[in-house]
């Protein structure tokens, strides 16, 4: 089983190398499809054999000796409750993304699929690694293929978009790298006999406690990197560009997988390592998340380009995830984790759908469409399901996550204010407004544009790739526990441990004993939190 995990991760990379030998474009496509399908098929036994009761322990673990002399940096990969679903989501989207690019990519086909496959390995590595340095390496590796995917196969503004995407992400992650190295030395001194360590299991253990000042700094560095990746308002400006310019397959991977690396990082690293800072900054992060929810929704409403609309809806939806994470109770964090999957499915589906219509008409402007439901009935059905899932209709997946998050945030001790929920919930209403309005303008009414009269409905390939997504959208909507069970145990334990950890650290160093500005900063944060609570 352990070796199976490695195979699943590296099979796509191997496929990318095999592609070099492929002679025809058809062969390239078939190899890519085969490799991603095999990777997905092999990952299913992992999920089936996952020990739900022990979800807090990394399973299918592979651990090597130190990679660097004198530093306890090891290649550790495993799946646990936090990563399993996202890992599966990534393998699941592999073949779908390959199929979606089947005919729409005509130039440099080999390069395109090679990049997709490398990206797949990178993303799987991000979710599977349990060592921070290894995580960081995979985190950065994913940038390279995405840079080329947007830059070579993107739209007209692709070059600016891809450079912006690359540099933005890199600034955050490099600052995180500094904090990460500092953390490694600090942890080494504290619990690993003075040897630098970035083993997640050690760092997240209750035995390892970090002082308040260090926590604050490191939290800020980590949170910045992940906030840019998510992206959390006001770090979201790269996202609409990247999404709009990226080819369909790129947008799907970006939305479904890569944005999750940010939220995943917040849960996996910030929460257990920096419990006090997480608590202290929770209201701030929550506030930014809520601003993002509303801002994203409002901006989405006025978009003329369907793809841009979906991109801004991502900002809004990921706001929910961040709000859930920083509500810091089991319900909300569980909601956040399932919402990551949900967003991947529904927004991924929306990008696929937008791509399909773009392939036919080479435009994404809402005003160019209208009345498509009559011309393309099958398309209309899929589009409707994806739209409603994104809106959060009960019975579909989006509802589950949003409900858990909003409910959890309402009861959150840390956020300590129902205003987060109230403002957050308006995002759900706004989502219905912009999504359904967009759907009406594109699909209903008379066919105003002659070019739309003879559009072909979805072909077998397009239906094949959308159906699995739809199945999971409905499945999660009806039986969420089939999926939430995987993370439940770990989330409960993680929150419990970090609460105890933060209490014991607080006891050791009270805020007024902090030196100068740091103490003040803490006071202000606490005061702010309590004020919001009073109101």
């Amino acid at each position: 089983m352990d070796i199976l995990l490695q195979i699943v991760i590296y099979l796509p990379l191997l496929g990318a190398l095999v592609l070099l030998a492929a002679r025809t474009d058809e062969m390239v496509r078939m190899i890519s499809l085969f490799v991603t399908l095999a990777s997905f098929a092999l990952s299913v036994p992992l999920m089936l054999n996952f020990d739900v009761a022990n979800s807090h322990v990394g399973q299918f673990m592979t651990e090597t000796g130190p990679l660097l002399a004198g530093l306890d940096v090891k290649y550790i990969t495993a799946l646990d409750g936090l990563s399993l679903l996202l890992f599966m989501l990534t393998t699941f989207f592999g073949p779908i993304v390959v199929l979606s690019a089947w005919t729409s990519i005509r130039k440099h086909v080999k390069g395109f699929f090679a990049m997709l496959l490398i990206l797949q390995t990178g993303s799987l590595g991000v979710f599977a690694s349990l060592d921070l340095v290894v995580f960081y390496v995979f985190f950065e590796v994913t940038l390279i293929p995405m840079y080329f995917l947007i830059g070579i196969w993107g739209g007209d503004g692709r070059i600016a978009a891809t450079i912006k995407f690359f540099l933005y992400t890199l600034v955050g992650s490099l600052i995180m790298l500094v904090a990460l190295i500092y953390l490694g030395f600090h942890a080494g001194d504290a619990i690993n006999n003075g040897v630098f360590t970035t083993d997640w299991r050690l760092l997240s253990s209750p035995a390892y406690q970090i002082g308040l000042v260090e926590q604050t700094w490191m939290f800020l560095a980590f949170a910045l990197a992940f906030s840019i990746k998510v992206p959390l308002f006001p770090f979201h400006t790269w996202l609409p560009y990247a999404h709009t310019e990226a080819p369909t397959a790129g947008s799907v991977v970006l939305a479904a997988i890569m944005l999750k690396m940010g939220t995943y990082g917040l849960v996996r690293f910030c929460l257990p390592f920096f419990p006090n800072a997480t608590e202290a900054f929770a209201p701030w992060m929550g506030a930014l998340a809520v601003i993002g929810i509303i801002y994203g929704a409002l901006v989405a409403m006025v978009q003329k380009d369907v793809k841009k609309l979906v991109a801004y809806s991502s900002v809004s939806h990921l706001g929910f995830v961040v709000l859930g994470i920083f509500a810091l109770n089991t319900m909300a964090v569980q909601g956040a984790i399932i919402q990551m999957v949900n967003h991947g499915l529904s927004t991924g589906a929306l990008f696929l759908i937008v791509g399909m219509i773009y392939d036919r008409r080479h435009t994404r402007m809402i005003s160019d469409f209208g009345g498509l439901s009559g011309v393309m009935p099958v398309f209309a059905v899929f589009f409707m399901i994806a739209t409603l899932a994104s809106v959060g209709l009960p019975g579909l997946n989006g509802f589950v996550g949003e409900f858990l998050i909003l409910n959890g945030a309402f009861h959150s001790d840390v956020l300590n204010s129902f205003w987060f929920t109230i403002f957050g919930a308006t995002g759900v209403i706004l989502a219905a407004v912009y999504m359904l309005w967009m759907y009406r303008r594109v699909m209903f009414g008379p066919v105003t544009n002659k070019l739309n009269e003879k559009l072909a409905d979805l072909n077998a390939r397009e239906i094949t790739l959308l159906v699995p997504v739809m199945i999971f959208i409905v499945w999660i909507g009806i039986r969420p526990t089939h999926f939430t069970q995987y993370s439940e145990h770990q989330v409960t334990q993680l929150l419990e441990e970090s609460r105890q950890k933060s209490a014991s650290i607080m006891q050791a160093a009270r805020a007024d004993e902090l030196p100068g500005w740091a103490g003040k900063f803490y006071d202000i944060t606490q005061e702010f939190a309590s004020k919001i609570g009073e109101e």
Binding site: G65, A69, I159, I163, F166, L167, V178, I181, F185
Partner: protein, 483 residues
């Protein structure tokens, strides 16, 4: 007998020096460049074997304390010889392409390399000076080897004038240090370091000389012009082998002659490192000429190396050695691909706009360039990342967190200009008609090998970092003075 034993330990330099003499003779009598090339490559391969063997020998003083073997010095030797070997193979095809395949080039490269080895193994200021000058004089001539181009002559003259000036500072520094301590042996200077004014003035002047050779701000002015004007493979040689030798020598000096004083002057290194990284990276962003861009990038990389030196710890020094290796691999690789493109139009094919659409013409070359550039940018999983990671880790461990933050932010600017080359290669349509001919087998082999090594040292740094850390195990170098 002792001197013979010492000569065995000094084999790499001796082999290359002999080969240099043979090459000069062959040139005088037959002008047969094929023989010259074979002798050069053959001697370098032998020397490399000897140098790699030397890596595993214990550290020792040879030639009555004038030179040292093992550890840092052995690593410097191996790296310099390897870099030279790569450069010689690349140079042959490139220089033939631009019609400047003179025998002198090989002679000069071989003698220059001897100088670099002497420099990288020196444990006495006199040997340091000897190595530095042997190396520099060869480089002055090499920079101007394309003598019918104005830029080439400008490069050589500029390099020579400024270089001699720096040498003056360097010599004066040696004189003052001798005056303050009464010795030129590095280890003894370290023992007698009394931190008096003369001593520190000597250290300062000595460092100015070094800073010039490794081109850090504010002693970097010559670099862009020289790197641009020199033939590209020679630029690669100057940027990698020469810098490696100078930095290795600098480590030996810092470690031995100024050992306990890290606290007092590491702030000087910090300031210079910051200036170098920031200026190198920001100015590189606006360069349109790829060679000039790589010149500024090499300034910036010298800044990262200084970060490791500023840490002044065992971890810092071994990180610097790792960085030098990574830097040598990826920089020779990058210059190699640039040289490959360049030779199709004489030496007039260096503007980044001209690279538009080249990515699809000889795909392998472009992919290799991509790998080297990403590695230079410090993106995993390439060797450049591990190098950066280690120097910054050393700095953070030494409580230089601010320096590390400035460094990583400066490297973001770096990423921008490396990516820009890739933008032109892959994302823009070519405007210029150019037919790329396939590079020769040795040429492609060397570039491929460099790329594979770049990836290998980016994924499995363990063995090498083990070796390098081993050099600095226990206390830093110390030796009893001669009777």
């Amino acid at each position: 007998m002792e001197i013979l034993n010492d000569m065995v330990l000094y084999l790499p330099a001796i082999i290359i020096a002999l080969a240099g003499l043979i090459v000069m003779m062959v040139d005088a009598y037959t002008k047969n460049t094929a023989t010259i090339y074979t002798v050069s490559v053959g001697s370098l391969v032998l020397a490399l074997a000897a140098a790699v063997y030397g890596l595993f020998l214990p550290s020792a003083e040879i030639f009555y304390g004038m030179a040292t073997t093992g550890g840092t010095a052995a690593f410097g030797t191996a790296l310099v010889v390897a870099a030279t070997l790569f450069v010689v193979v690349l140079s042959r095809e490139y220089l033939t392409g631009i019609n400047h395949n003179f025998a002198e080039v090989y002679t000069l490269i071989l003698f220059g390399t001897v100088g670099m080895i002497v420099l990288a193994t020196a444990s006495d200021l006199v040997t340091v000076f000897l190595g530095l000058e042997t190396m520099s004089i060869a480089l002055y001539v090499l920079a101007g080897i394309v003598r019918d181009e104005k830029t080439g002559i400008e490069a050589a003259l500029k390099y020579f004038l400024l270089g001699s000036f720096a040498t003056g500072f360097f010599l004066y520094g040696i004189a003052l240090l001798y005056g303050a301590t009464g010795t030129t042996r590095l280890a003894e200077i370290g023992l007698y370091a009394d931190a008096g004014l003369i001593y520190w003035a000597g250290v300062g002047l000595l460092l100015v000389g070094f800073f010039f050779k490794v081109s850090v701000v504010p002693f970097h002015m010559w670099t862009p012009d020289v790197y641009e004007g020199a033939p590209t493979t020679i630029t690669a040689y100057m940027a990698t082998a020469a810098k490696t030798a100078a930095f290795v020598s600098l480590i030996l000096i810092l470690e031995r002659a100024i050992p306990l004083a890290v606290e007092q002057w590491s702030s000087v290194l910090v300031v210079i490192a910051i200036l170098t990284m920031v200026l190198g990276n920001t100015v590189a962003m606006v360069q349109n000429n790829v060679k000039r861009m790589l010149a500024y990038s090499s300034i910036a990389h010298a800044g990262y190396v200084l970060v490791g030196l500023a840490a002044g710890t065992a971890a810092g020094y071994s990180a610097v050695l790792y960085y030098l290796l990574a830097y040598t691999l990826m920089n020779i690789g990058a210059f190699g691909v640039v040289a490959y493109y360049e030779r199709h139009k004489g030496m007039k094919f260096n503007s980044v706009d001209q690279y538009a659409g080249l990515g699809y013409k000889q795909p392998m070359m472009a992919v290799l360039l991509g790998i080297f550039l990403f590695s230079l940018a410090g993106i995993p999983p390439f060797a450049g990342f591990i190098g950066k990671y280690q120097v910054f880790a050393a700095a953070i461990q030494a409580d230089l967190i601010g320096l590390a933050i400035v460094g990583v932010l400066a490297s973001v600017a770096g990423v921008y200009y490396y990516l820009r080359v890739l933008v032109f290669l892959y994302m823009k349509e070519g405007t210029e008609e150019i037919e790329l001919t396939r590079a020769g087998v040795p040429y492609r082999f060397v570039l491929l090998l460099l790329a594979l090594l770049t990836i290998y040292f980016g994924i499995l740094p363990g063995g090498l970092s083990e070796l390098l850390t081993g050099f600095y195990q226990g206390s830093l170098y110390s030796v009893a003075p001669l009777p």
